[in-house]
């Protein structure tokens, strides 16, 4: 990796770096050792504390954790499936040419983006007297649809002007140009951000804990309350590890998608642009010429950055 800040290190710099690394590792190990010793003094590592995960209680404990994982994933999945189309709809309204549609949508989006998600969940729960699951899902949907809309709008704005002009020039209506030329490209371009937002959505399901939805963290607490305070740390440790593992997995997928996207952007922009540009318009030679016109160079320029 070439860093902006320093040259490729020579032998002297490498030696210093090695010494620095050793010192750094020692400090980190020292802090860890102190933490572990403190925990050991509390008896955290005694086998009987962890017995809940493999002893006679284990089936019930894992069953409870499994339920927690399922309800976490269920809320995230349902919310994501509803939020995405809603986000597309909001985005269309937000970029509408009619001020009477555009401006109220903008106000609504600002409102949704400016509020804490957990407040929306509580609002739905108390005002509409729904169940906890619905409250969590609606809260997540409202917030994330607004974010999806903004991401897509940024994607459409990042397209070269010629894309829309070409669509209008061959006689498409504004809406047709949006749907068949601009949206497919915007979604493709913004795919990394969209997946990253899915990770946020998944993380935010844990806010359900606050409104009493029995997701993973709540199940962990129920378990600790039932088993006694001695088991709080082990239960929390396992629960948190599971949560982090799930999120890390989804994040990895997001990074993979981003890599694939940028590789294509670097190597085969031309073909990618043409393919997405022509989606829905057929093999119209006029459109093809326009896509390959001077604006196309702009597209690859921004892509590479």
């Amino acid at each position: 990796m070439t860093s902006v800040l320093y040259d490729v290190p020579g032998p002297k710099a490498r030696l210093y770096s090695l010494i620095g690394s050793a010192a750094g590792i020692l400090i980190i190990l020292g802090v860890l050792a102190i933490a572990v010793m403190t925990l050991a003094q509390q008896g955290i590592f005694d086998a009987d504390r962890w017995e809940i995960f493999y002893g006679p209680m284990a089936p019930d404990v894992w069953n409870l954790i499994g339920q927690g994982i399922l309800s976490t994933l269920a809320a995230a999945a349902v919310a994501a499936i509803i939020a995405f189309p809603l986000g597309i709809g909001l985005c269309l309204l937000r970029i509408s040419l009619i001020p009477w549609v555009r401006i109220p949508t903008q106000v609504v989006l600002e409102f949704l983006r400016g509020m804490p998600v957990v407040l929306m969940m509580l609002f739905v729960l108390l005002v509409f007297a729904t169940g906890q699951f619905q409250a969590v899902v609606v809260g997540l949907v409202l917030y994330n649809a607004a974010i999806f809309a903004e991401i897509l709008r940024a994607g459409i704005q990042s397209l070269p002007k010629g894309q829309r002009e070409a669509g209008l020039a061959i006689g498409l209506r504004s809406f047709q140009s949006r749907m068949s030329i601009e949206f497919p490209q915007a979604v493709r371009r913004m795919l990394p951000s969209l997946v990253a937002q899915l990770v946020v959505l998944l993380k935010d399901t844990s806010l359900g804990y606050i409104v009493g939805y029995e997701e993973l963290l709540r199940k962990i607490q129920i378990m600790a309350d039932f088993l006694g305070p001695n088991f709080l740390f082990p239960a929390f440790f396992v629960g948190a590890a599971i949560y982090i593992l799930i999120n890390l997995t989804v994040s990895r997928i997001a990074i993979l998608i981003e890599r694939r996207g940028s590789k294509k952007a670097a190597g085969g922009v031309a073909s990618a642009t043409i393919r997405t540009g022509l989606e829905g318009t057929g093999n119209d030679p006029v459109a093809q010429n326009v896509v390959l016109g001077p604006d196309h160079r702009d597209a690859s320029g921004t892509d590479k950055k």
Partner: protein, 216 residues
């Protein structure tokens, strides 16, 4: 409506505490996050590794879990806080620092390598390259995302309300219990106070973005 007017003192109190939590954790997170970013771009491998590990884990841990750890698990392990605010500030700043580190790092990375190479080739030292060439460009790209992270921080501070800190959200929960028949107005009032902080910050981000954008 009258429930909102009757509870104005609570609203004001909660508003100030939300501001307090956000400002203090924001400052700590900015400092820690910048340090983490500096470690991430440093030539020392151990520091890079540590920073990367911290940022990855913190970004993928739900805030609720961090709060749960700071407010419920830590006291059980013998780390007791005089006030729950301290636990909240630790949770919020350690979470936010990871995002700030990422933003600052991407800002440094967004400066084309050629800029630093050119600076080195005219004989500038490391500090000069950093101070005159790289940082001024990095900061300009990074201010808008930083403001967005701070907006998220304000909204995230609402989680503290669920863990014994009476800020805006905490009061909102309490008041909606007290005035069961006027929940709608009570919660809209809470929303209004959040928007009072987040919307101006959002406008500021837009403004700065337009003002300092670099055409590349």
């Amino acid at each position: 409506m009258d429930a909102v007017i009757a509870s104005l003192p609570e609203y004001w109190d909660g508003f100030l505490r939300t501001l307090y939590l956000s400002v203090i954790s924001g400052i700590i997170a900015l400092v820690v996050g910048t340090l983490l970013a500096a470690m991430r771009v440093s030539p020392v491998a151990a520091l890079r590794g540590f920073s990367m590990f911290y940022v990855e884990v913190a970004r993928n841990t739900p805030l609720t879990i961090i709060f749960f750890f700071a407010a419920i698990v830590l006291p059980r392990l013998g780390v007791k806080f005089e006030q729950f605010e301290v636990a909240a500030i630790i949770a919020l700043s350690s979470y936010t620092a990871a995002f700030i580190a990422e933003a600052v790092r991407s800002g440094v990375n967004s400066v084309p390598v050629g800029q630093a190479e050119a600076a080195r080739s005219v004989g500038m030292t490391f500090t000069q390259v950093l101070g005159f060439i790289v940082l001024p460009q990095a900061v300009r790209t990074v201010v808008p995302p930083l403001i967005n992270i701070l907006i998220a921080l304000v909204k995230n501070s609402s989680v503290a309300g669920a863990f014994f800190v009476l800020e805006l959200f905490g009061y909102g929960r309490q008041l909606s219990n007290d005035y069961g028949n006027q929940v709608l107005w009570i919660l809209l009032g809470v929303a209004f106070f959040y928007l009072l902080i987040t919307v101006p910050l959002g406008l500021l981000a837009h403004f700065v973005e337009r003002k300092v954008a670099i055409a590349r």
